[in-house]
Assembly symmetry: C2
Homo-oligomer: 199 residues x 2
Amino acid sequence: MTKTAHTRLGVPTRTAEDWEEAALDVIASGGIAAVSIPELARTLDVTKGSFYWHFTGLDDLVRRAVARWDRLDKETLDQIRTIEDPVVRLRTLFAEAMAAQRAQSLYLALAVSPSPDIGAALRKVSSRRLKLLADTYRELGMTELAAQQQALLAYSAYIGGVHLRSNDAPWLRETRDVRAYVEHASMALIEPSRRKTKR
Amino acid sequence: MTKTAHTRLGVPTRTAEDWEEAALDVIASGGIAAVSIPELARTLDVTKGSFYWHFTGLDDLVRRAVARWDRLDKETLDQIRTIEDPVVRLRTLFAEAMAAQRAQSLYLALAVSPSPDIGAALRKVSSRRLKLLADTYRELGMTELAAQQQALLAYSAYIGGVHLRSNDAPWLRETRDVRAYVEHASMALIEPSRRKTKR
DNA sequence: TATCTTCCATACCGACAAGTATGGTCTGAA
DNA sequence: TTCAGACCATACTTGTCGGTATGGAAGATA
C-alpha cells in the first residue's frame, strides 16, 4: 500500500509531502512568515538542495502546502457529512472541530495572511464549512435565510472557541472545560433551531 | 491641551507614540513579522536614527505598541461599561466591536503570535472583555456559572464574526449583513438569557 | 558492470534587515 | 549669543534568507 518511496542509505528520501507537512507545522505554530527554507531543511535533516529539487521556490511550497490543508479539511468534512441525524452531526462537528489542534492553528495563522491566494483558499474552506452547517440547519426545519444566519453564528462560535483555546488561556484549557463549552454552545445553537424560527 | 511637541523646521518631530501607532497599523495589516524598522521609517519619513533614539530595539517597540493597544482597548471598554441597561450594553458591545476595524485585525494578528509576552497581553485583554460580558449577563439574572459560559460563547461569536469579516469574504461584507448578523446574534445570545436559565 | 536517474550537498551571490557608532542640525532656555 | 540636549542622517558591520549553479553519491535498470 505504501508507495515504496525511494531510499538512500536505508532511510527513505524526502518527499514533497514531507516538506509540505513540515511547512504546515511551522505555519500552525509560527505563522506563514516563519516559514524559511533553511529552518525546514534543518528539521528535515537535509539542505536546501533537497528543497529546490522538489519545489520551484518558496511560493510554490506555500501554495502546495495550503492546497494540502484544503484537501485534508475536505476529507474531514466529507466524513462528518455522512452522519444521518442532523443534531448528532452538529454536535460531532463542534466536538471534532475543537479537537483538531493543528487544523485550528493553521486556520488562524492563514486567516491573518495578506496574500490573495491564501485568502481565496481560506474562503473556499470557510464556504465549505458554512455550507455543511447551513444544510444541516435546513434539515432541522429552518428557512433558507435563518439557516444561513444560524450557520454564520455557529461558525463564528467555533472560530471564537478555537481562538480562546489557543494562547493556552485559562478558559478552555481542560478538556472538561471544552466539553462544557461545546455543551453550552450546542444548547444555544442547536436547541433554539427546533422552535419555530419565524422571526 | 496638546503637549506642544518639539518641532523641527516647522514640522513636529516624531514621538514614540508615532512609531507605536505606525507599528500597530503594520501589525494589523501584515502581522507582527511584517514590522520592520526600515519600512516604518519610510512611512514616517525618517531614518533608523530616529527609531533608535526612541527605542532600544525592535522588541522594545513591539512591547510598547502592544501595551498601547492594551490601553486603548481598556478605554473603549470603560466607556461601554457606563451604559446602564444591560441589554443595551450588550448590543452596543457587539455593534461597537464589529465596527472597530483596526482593533479587530490587531487582535487577530496578535493572537497567532508565539511570543509569551504577547500571549500574556492578549489574555489580559480577553479576560477584561470576558469579565464585562459575564458581569452583564449576571445582571440579567443568570447564575455565576451560566453567565461565565454565556460570556465565553458570546465572546467566541464576536471573535468569529471578526474573522468572517476579515479576508473580505462575501459573508459579512455589506454593513447591512453585519447588522443582520448582530441582530441574529443578539437574538440568540441575549434573548435566551431572559428565560430562567436553570438547566 | 556501465549508465541513467533521483536526490541531495556545497559553494556562492545579491538583497535586506537589525543594530552600532558617530556626527550633524535644529530648538529652547539661560 | 551661547550652549546643552533633543532629534535625526549617514555609514558601516553582521547575520540570514532566497535563489542559482554545479557536482557527486546512492539506487534503479539493462
